[in-house]
């Protein structure tokens, strides 16, 4: 690693943030905000909640940078903070909001798979079915595919054992396969 690189890697930026360097946290914001925002939006199914939570994640980084010990990547650490704050935000949502969300999900789930299959492309169909997975399954799918996290890193972000990550991934993909089969697309498993 060159000196120039080390001055700008995420870990070094976090150390600078701990010293009160606002330019460093703005650079980290540039690098990670969009992914954190998307992670929270997918978890909470709400972009307005994600907007507040993602901002709060970086304010938390500002306050807690001195506690970062470099045992994981900064991006993994931020995802862990984001998950915690997203769960807190979900707990604060009113029952009315949750009812709206449930109604929306029921409407989605009630779509006739055969009808849907006729009017949507294969890729759109998979995307829709991934979106319909329960949150705990959709999150592991996103963390692996979109965020490129390993089994161990997902365990760290979600605060669950590695074996549980694998189990959730198994059921996520199994449910997805079954939903695809119901929509007339048999991929041979499960």
């Amino acid at each position: 690693m060159t000196n120039t690189g080390s001055m700008h890697n995420d870990g070094e930026l976090v150390r600078r943030v701990a010293d009160g360097d606002k330019a460093a946290i703005r650079l980290l914001f540039h690098r990670h905000h969009a992914r954190i925002f998307r992670f929270v939006a997918r978890m909470t199914r709400s972009e307005s909640v994600a907007d507040d939570v993602a901002n709060d994640v970086f304010l938390e980084l500002w306050r807690q940078a001195g506690k970062f010990e470099g045992r994981s990547e900064v991006s993994t650490w931020l995802l862990g903070i984001a998950r915690f704050k997203a769960l807190s935000a979900l707990r604060k949502r009113t029952e009315d909001e949750l009812d709206d969300e449930r109604a929306e999900n029921v409407a989605d789930a009630s779509d006739d798979p055969e009808t849907m299959a006729m009017k949507e492309s294969k890729s759109v169909r998979i995307r829709r079915l991934v979106d319909m997975l329960p949150t705990e399954h959709r999150v592991v799918i996103d963390l692996a595919y979109y965020h490129g996290r390993s089994v161990a890193e997902i365990g760290e972000v979600l605060a669950i054992p590695v074996a549980t990550v694998k189990t959730r991934m198994f059921y996520a993909r199994k449910k997805l396969g079954e939903a695809l089969q119901a929509a007339g697309q048999d991929r041979g498993w499960p």
Partner: protein, 214 residues
């Protein structure tokens, strides 16, 4: 036949749960070896790989379609300006980190990282023991200790091992010259000398200055 089919199904299930990690390049160790072997041996492998690639694309498209507001950074900057400066961190690990960061280029970074790891392990051990900050950050003034500087190329495993074997713990530092204050668990001078000698004879020490000897 049925008896043979069940283990194969179980293996397939397991491989299906690993497949996303094979695709994203994070699968390693035994999992990667077993996955590669399965992929080469089972004709279903190629088919399911294609299916997972479609899932991969779906996740990417679904996520990329979510766009943060364009003014996110400016709104964050406003909120940031209302924040106080981060509280100064005065942990042992933070001080060690700062010290190593200030070292000249000749100090091997790996050694610095290794020493940090030792300090981190020590801090965790102390915290786990429930001894509280008076032990981890501000040892009793009359507790036996020695000031010890470890060689820059000392392997972390060996430093951790010698400290563990002797019951010694890093409680403060680094101080000028790279010296750490190392608590020596001794109740008399003979025990103190024996522990310090064992550490200094390990070949890992660059310098030692006696502190408080009981």
């Amino acid at each position: 036949m049925a008896m043979n089919a069940e283990p194969k199904t179980t293996l397939r299930d397991e491989m299906e749960s690993l497949l996303p990690f094979y695709l994203n390049g994070t699968l390693d160790g035994d999992d990667l070896v077993r996955f590669d072997a399965w992929l080469a041996a089972d004709p279903a492998g190629a088919e399911t790989l294609a299916a997972a690639e479609a899932e991969f694309a779906a996740s990417m498209v679904a996520n990329e379609a979510i766009r943060p507001r364009a003014d996110a950074l400016s709104r964050f900057s406003v909120a940031l300006d209302r924040q106080a400066r981060p509280a100064p961190v005065n942990t042992l690990l933070a001080r060690a980190s700062s010290w190593f960061a200030s070292k000249p280029a000749w100090l091997p970074w790996a050694a610095a990282a290794a020493m940090l790891a030792v300090v981190a392990v020590q801090a965790i051990t102390l915290n786990a023991a429930g001894d509280g900050p008076q032990v981890a950050g501000a040892p009793a003034v009359d507790a036996p200790f020695a000031l010890i500087a470890f060689k820059a190329d000392a392997p972390v495993e060996r430093v951790a091992a010698i400290l563990s074997e002797t019951g010694a713990t890093i409680v403060d530092g680094p101080k000028p010259g790279g010296f750490f204050r190392v608590a020596i668990p001794a109740t008399d001078g003979t025990a103190y000398d024996a522990i310090v000698k064992r550490i200094t004879d390990s070949g890992l020490v660059d310098g030692m200055m006696p502190g408080i000897r009981p």
